[in-house]
Amino acid sequence: MDMQVAKKKLGLKERYQVMTRGLDWTPSYQKMEDIYPYAAYEGIKIHDWDKWEDPFRLTMDAYWKYQAEKERKLYAIIDAYAQNNGHLNVTDARYLNAVKLFLTGISPLEYMAHRGFAHVGRQFPGAGPRVACLMQSIDEIRHAQTQIHSLSNYNKYYNGFHDFRHMLERVWYLSVPRSFFDDAVTAGPFEFMVAIGFSFEYVLTNLLFVPFVSGAAYNGDMGTMTFGFSAQSDEARHMTLGLEVIKFILEQDPDNLPIVQRWIDKWMWRGYRVLTLVGMMMDYMLPKRIMSWKEAWEVYFEENGGALFKDLARYGIRPPKWLDQISFDKDHISHQAWATFYQYGAAAAFNTWTPNDEEMDWLSQKYPNSFDKYYRPRLEYWREQAAQGKRFYNKTLPMLCQTCQIPMLFTEPGDPTKICYREVDYQGSKYHFCSDGCKEIFEYEPEKYVQAWLPVHQIYQGNCFPEGADPTAEGFDPLAEVLKYYHVEMGRDNLDFEGSEDQKNFDQWRGQATKNA
């Protein structure tokens, strides 16, 4: 062989092949089913892992190079933002409450995604998907950390951020995102991929990141904008992985179709329920609004998701169940959720408020079919009450849905004046649901959902008081004790924005910045 002849340069696809799949071999000293023990129990049939189509073909050298460049940029901005007191540039301190919800509710899930993808990245018997999952695993720890590092500066000056990890495992509304992710991680590896890789990353993540992060930019929050867009640049790879997984599973065996369809139905509904929190952030918590929840849903779900499901129809996949209800509800859920948080504003780790007139007009304009008719009068009433010194706080704990863990605040399909209740008897107990979707998810796997750690049940069972609290003692104040257990500081983290410490500090600091001392 003449060594001087220039070697044929491998193309991107071939090169990636030898750099990943070529590394694997068929074991003979241990059995495949012992090495990959979780690959079969869900009933998904894979005949040929080599048919896997790699999404983006990044080898580690390129990965390190591009990711380091992103990190350099990101941390330079985080540092500059902190040094220049960038937080005083946000439109209004109310905005920060959306970011609090993000840090307490979303960032810890990025961490869960990191561990979850490490798990499936170990367990798939195919080398191609394994590498893609591990790359997502390391990206996800990036997202958790860049969010924590960006928001660390807010924590120094504002309340509600200070004990986010403790809160996630305890506070009532945070059990909504948490149970969503725990549900996915405790499912089998294929269901995890359909739940997180496909339904969440591919179909729903745009709704979380793009409008919210663009909204952050619009509200002067360069810190959030930067980590948001920087994380989103990894998302493009993750979304592609999610889509490839679905196509791969469906192409492998016709028996996989009904299983995958059921997972799509379940996880679209689960994800949609979690996104209620995002809808509320967009419509109520951003002082300068970029688009309504309804508009975002139309662009990112109805249009894009529609195109996606049309594409998947060739495999026999139909659009997810309960779309009629979802389509009707887009006029309602953000208003219903904010009203709930307003009432329970004493038990939340962020401030709540009623929208001002200009904001109400914006909501009327964006929601002509629903806002003035159903939601404005209640907000105006609460505003009047608050002006008279009677700010309404609901002290009766709400009933929670056994599946999504959201309080029973949603209404009947087609009737926004009637709360929707569903129930199931299972092994001698009654279980409650917010919707047909959540009820059906429970009925398929009751043995899983009966395990749920429901915050309200736990409070009533006496499991949410600090060590040493005595509920039988004279003058025992359950709410105060629960807040201590949550590490929510009464009067600082919670209650109305009007009169809050964040409001006062922000005004004072900004005043210092704009006036001569």
């Binding site: 590394l23 990101l74 986010f164 725990d182 089998g188 500090n505």
Partner: protein, 331 residues
């Protein structure tokens, strides 16, 4: 409205997150490593048990026989969080790329004595499969280990091992062709010289205790393999025979081992210092897997060292024992 906010001196309400403050002895400025590590993993009020492992919670310290009062006693001396990690690797990657360019542009691979080229291909190419196994095992430790302080470095380690497998692939492509990769895999799955090592790697895939797996892979196997192959065979023996180019191409591995063993040693040291039981268990694991690994590496060493193999492997084992003694495990 853009205002000059820099001129405002405002006093922060707090320096760091409460869970970090509880670990660093009060509210003081915390490092990015600390804020990006402490308590990130959930520990309480899990919602459901894994359908794939109903005996355990999603994260469960009972998956290992090692007992720790606090799993955040572990510290990565490199203080790697994702940003610090990728910046460090990108820098090393620049060097590696420059080295590959240097060797390629000057035709140094083609200029190597044929015998040396054959040794390089026979020895280094099958090792890409060992690195791939190490990638899987570190994914496993990361997934099932307890506490971010212990699990976090393992995902970095997993991706490093994938990177190493890819560098070794490039070495194969540079000195041979895709045929060389096929031949390496054939040897890995069929030649006697590799079967002891392949059996060990496949056996490691079914080790379920994440800390034991850490010992098998990161302490023992890498702890013998890297000093033997990269520090001794490549850097000394091949270089002396005119193969300096090879040492340039594996510089990443040598530097990487030097760096990562500080973390591996710190981890062993912390677990061993915790209790006599931990120490005894670590010693048992280490001795068992060390003896297997040393035996498995002997025929691999012969590819390059011939008759000197026993002596060199014995020396590597001796250094390994000394290293572990320093980390608090007498074996």
């Amino acid at each position: 409205m853009q205002i000059d906010l820099r001129t405002v001196a405002i006093k922060p309400l707090r320096q760091t997150f409460d869970h970090v403050a509880r670990r660093i002895g009060g509210d003081k400025p915390a490092s990015r490593y600390q804020e990006g590590t402490f308590d990130l993993q959930a520990t309480a009020n899990f919602q459901y048990r894994p359908t794939w492992d109903p005996e355990h919670e999603i994260f469960d310290a009972a998956r290992t026989a090692i007992r720790m009062a606090d799993w955040y006693a572990f510290r990565d001396p490199r203080q790697f969080y994702y940003g610090a990690y990728t910046l460090a690797r990108a820098k090393q990657q620049d060097t590696a790329e420059a080295n590959f360019d240097f060797v390629e542009s000057r035709g140094l691979a083609a200029g190597l004595p044929a015998e040396l080229t054959a040794t390089v291909l026979k020895l280094l190419v099958p090792l890409r499969h060992v690195a791939w196994g190490a990638n899987m095992n570190n994914a496993s430790i990361c997934a099932y280990g307890y506490g971010t302080a212990f699990s976090q470095p393992c995902i970095y380690h997993a991706m490093d091992q994938l990177g190493i497998a890819q560098y070794l692939t490039r070495v194969g492509l540079l000195f041979g062709d895709t045929d060389a990769l096929d031949e390496g895999k054939r040897a890995w799955t069929a030649d006697d010289a590799w079967q002891g090592l392949r059996r060990l790697v496949e056996d490691s895939f079914v080790v379920h205790d994440p800390f034991e797996l850490f010992v098998v892979q990161n302490v023992v196997l890498d702890g013998l393999l890297y000093p033997l192959v990269f520090e001794t065979i490549v850097d000394d023996v091949l270089s002396a025979g005119g193969g300096t180019a090879v040492a340039m191409l594996t510089q990443f591995m040598t530097d990487w081992f030097g760096e990562t063993k500080k973390w591996v040693d710190a981890t062993v040291k912390t677990a061993a210092a915790e209790s006599a039981e931990n120490r005894a268990l670590l010693a048992r694991w280490i001795v068992h897997w060390r003896d297997r690994a040393a035996a498995a590496l002997l025929p691999v060493a012969r590819i390059a060292l011939g008759e000197r193999s026993d002596e060199v492997v014995a020396e590597v084992v001796c250094q390994f024992n000394a290293r572990l003694a320093k980390a608090g495990v007498e074996i």
